[in-house]
């Protein structure tokens, strides 16, 4: 990669200790996000797409065992103490979530909550200046009449406006990386379009690296520069957005794309079966139990990402299957 990555993750593993055993939610994820790019992270429920980034942010509970490395600049986040994490969170890396209402405090004015974020990383700043900055931030994310709105409470905001407030808080300290975890899933499509535009504008104007976690392939197609597809805690395919959608070599990615309703097709093609139980993921390629192309060799080693045609694909049969496409 050319410039220095805004966020660099190596062999990240997350295991949850539960009464039933160890849930291997993330099993060796590596990635780099460059400044100003949008990395789309796609996968179905339980693929580990959210957990990977919650782990990086130090937001998982005590039953989570995190291994590997996640670096923002020179700062290592895996295993970092709370003091380091507090310095980095909100300052270098910020995160927004699906449900902005539960992330906002109902008894504090919205403006005060944004100002609190500003003050958290600018200890010398006066309260008045922080309040002014908060209004500015609300304006940047497209909230009309920001002065009045700053004095209101979260319940007076609609879903889309609340998500804008979350974005205002997230960008308060000009972070290098913005992690957006299903930011528009709870919103209506017309409002989703507005929020995606705000995120895109911030990326362009501030050069923020954006990690966009979503299950919606349409959102990824619209927003992402590069995409990585996750399945059962691993990255199974990675490519620039055009190659991923048009020249995918992984049977899971192709299955996902084929299961979408498209124009003029009478029957949809579901992927048979269901994602594996991560207490005991299948040996070798976790997708092999649902894969139409599975062969005995798929049960061997866990496949690594290798360059096939235009994508990096974690499938031992990708070279042979290429002929079948």
């Amino acid at each position: 990669m050319s410039t220095e990555s805004a966020l660099s993750i190596r062999d990240l593993r997350v295991t949850f200790k539960t009464l039933l055993g160890n849930v291997q939610a993330v099993r060796g994820v590596s990635l780099d996000v460059q400044p100003g790019e949008v990395l789309g992270v796609v996968g179905e429920s339980g693929s580990g797409k959210s957990v990977s980034f919650l782990a990086v942010m130090g937001l998982l509970g005590r039953n989570a065992v995190i291994e590997g490395s996640a670096k923002v600049g020179d700062t290592e986040l895996v295993g970092a103490n709370q003091r380091t994490l507090r310095k980095v969170r909100g300052n270098n890396v910020a995160m927004i979530f699906q449900d902005p209402l539960s992330a906002l405090n109902p008894v504090h004015r919205v403006g005060a909550q944004v100002a609190e974020m500003v003050l958290a990383h600018h200890h010398g700043m006066s309260k008045d200046d922080a309040a002014k900055r908060a209004v500015e931030l609300l304006d940047i994310v497209g909230i009309p009449q920001p002065e009045q709105r700053a004095r209101q409470y979260a319940h007076e905001f609609s879903g889309g406006m609340r998500q804008r407030v979350m974005i205002a808080m997230a960008i308060a300290n000009d972070p290098k990386v913005l992690i957006a975890d299903e930011p528009t899933t709870a919103l209506d499509v017309t409002v989703q379009a507005q929020i995606l535009e705000v995120i895109d504008r911030i990326r362009k104007e501030m050069g923020t690296a954006v990690v966009l976690i979503t299950h919606d392939l349409g959102v990824v197609a619209r927003m992402a520069d590069r995409v990585q597809v996750m399945y059962a805690g691993r990255v199974v395919e990675r490519a620039d957005v055009h190659s991923l959608f048009h020249q995918s070599d992984h049977p899971y990615t192709r299955g996902l794309l084929a299961s979408q309703p498209t124009l003029g097709r009478e029957r949809l093609s579901p992927i048979p079966g269901a994602p594996p139980n991560m207490l005991q993921p299948p040996s070798g390629c976790a997708f092999r139990v649902r894969c139409a192309h599975a062969a005995p060799e798929c049960a061997g080693d866990v496949p690594e990402l290798i360059q096939v045609r235009r994508t990096e694909t974690a499938c031992v049969r990708a070279q042979e299957l290429e002929a079948l496409v």
Partner: protein, 335 residues
């Protein structure tokens, strides 16, 4: 044309909400559904789309009288349901069923799924061997007969939704309201349930009202589609025509907002960006309810409510400027 299974005319549903301001209690009316008419032809699927608060779910529930309509008429195979005594309604309920969005919430966690599927048979005092019928239903929805002894938590989301469908089919209905039946499912699983619903329709001659916010699934499964905005139907038409040549600015905006799973299309298409969000149904805008967000709104839109008019193409639109939509907003962008 065959006789319609369901005919809804001028359906209106208003809820009263109370809010207390100190000692004063203020009652306000939520206009959830206003003057909605639609028809479900026999053996066909009508899609009902709209954003949250558009009233689409309320329409579905009013049709089954799970909630009582405030005004209007709902005819099921010619019988007026509004005002029908409970005893007669219960008999008709055999023929009209519903499948909900969240199969986990709609199945009792303490009942085996066999017992859940057999429950409607008991309630309606159906004679015969219920166990055999449950086994038959499970096979019909692609599950194994011995699944009947298992509990909901032993199933995946897609399988649970199949159980929900099996239960809805238990009494041999002719009409099913599908209220966001695949919205909670992952896309790879969704496709299987959609295929199942289509197969069942063909095998059993079912009629569906398919309520969803996902426009691409609706397009795939529906014969005709009605678009709702803030309690009103703004446009109805054959599915393909509605998606390729919609004549209401809201439908256009909605379709253009749905991201498509193709980066080339996504980066080239023109979007109609709507400002703001859906207004409150407590105090809907005067005239056309969409005018506060409409890129084409004129003075008349705030004064006069546009009627849902069929301009001769079997495709009624409620917009004063329906003829000008294609010209003003450009060629259609479909989901």
């Amino acid at each position: 044309m065959t006789a319609p299974v369901v005919e809804v005319a001028n359906l209106t549903k208003e809820f009263t909400v109370k809010s207390s301001h100190g000692l004063r209690v203020i009652r306000r009316t939520v206009h959830a559904v206003s003057d909605v008419s639609l028809t479900v032809p026999s053996g066909k699927t009508v899609g009902l789309v709209g954003e949250s608060g558009s009233g689409k779910t309320t329409v579905g529930r009013c049709i089954l009288r799970l909630i009582e309509p405030t005004a209007g008429s709902v005819k099921f195979q010619g019988t007026e349901l509004v005002g029908l005594p409970a005893k007669d309604l219960r008999k008709l309920r055999r023929s009209m069923q519903i499948v909900f969005q969240d199969p986990y919430a709609s199945l009792d966690p303490k009942m085996t799924i066999g017992a859940s599927i057999a429950e409607p048979l008991q309630i309606q005092k159906v004679e015969g061997n219920h166990q055999d019928r449950v086994a038959e239903l499970l096979e019909l929805v692609g599950l194994a007969p011995d699944h009947a002894r298992r509990f909901p938590h032993e199933f995946s989301g897609g399988q649970r939704q199949r159980v929900g469908v099996a239960r809805a089919l238990a009494l041999n209905p002719s009409f099913i309201v599908l209220d966001e039946p695949v919205s909670a499912l992952d896309v790879s699983i969704q496709a299987g349930v959609v295929n199942l619903l289509q197969d069942l329709q063909e095998q059993l001659g079912l009629s569906y009202l398919f309520i969803a916010h996902d426009l691409s699934v609706v397009r795939h499964i529906s014969d005709s589609v009605a678009v709702m905005y803030l309690g009103k139907v703004v446009e109805v038409g054959p599915a393909e025509e509605l998606y390729s040549a919609s004549a209401h600015p809201y439908t256009r905006a909605l379709l253009s907002a749905v991201p498509q799973a193709d980066p080339i299309v996504e980066r080239e298409r023109q979007r109609i960006m709507l400002q703001g969000e859906v207004p409150s149904p407590i105090n809907p805008p005067s005239g056309c309810r969409f005018r506060t967000r409409c890129p084409m709104a004129q003075e008349i839109c705030s004064v006069e409510e546009p009627a849902l008019i069929d301009r001769g193409q079997g495709h009624p639109v409620a917009c004063h400027f329906a003829e000008a939509v294609a010209v003003t907003l450009g060629s259609n962008v479909s989901a």
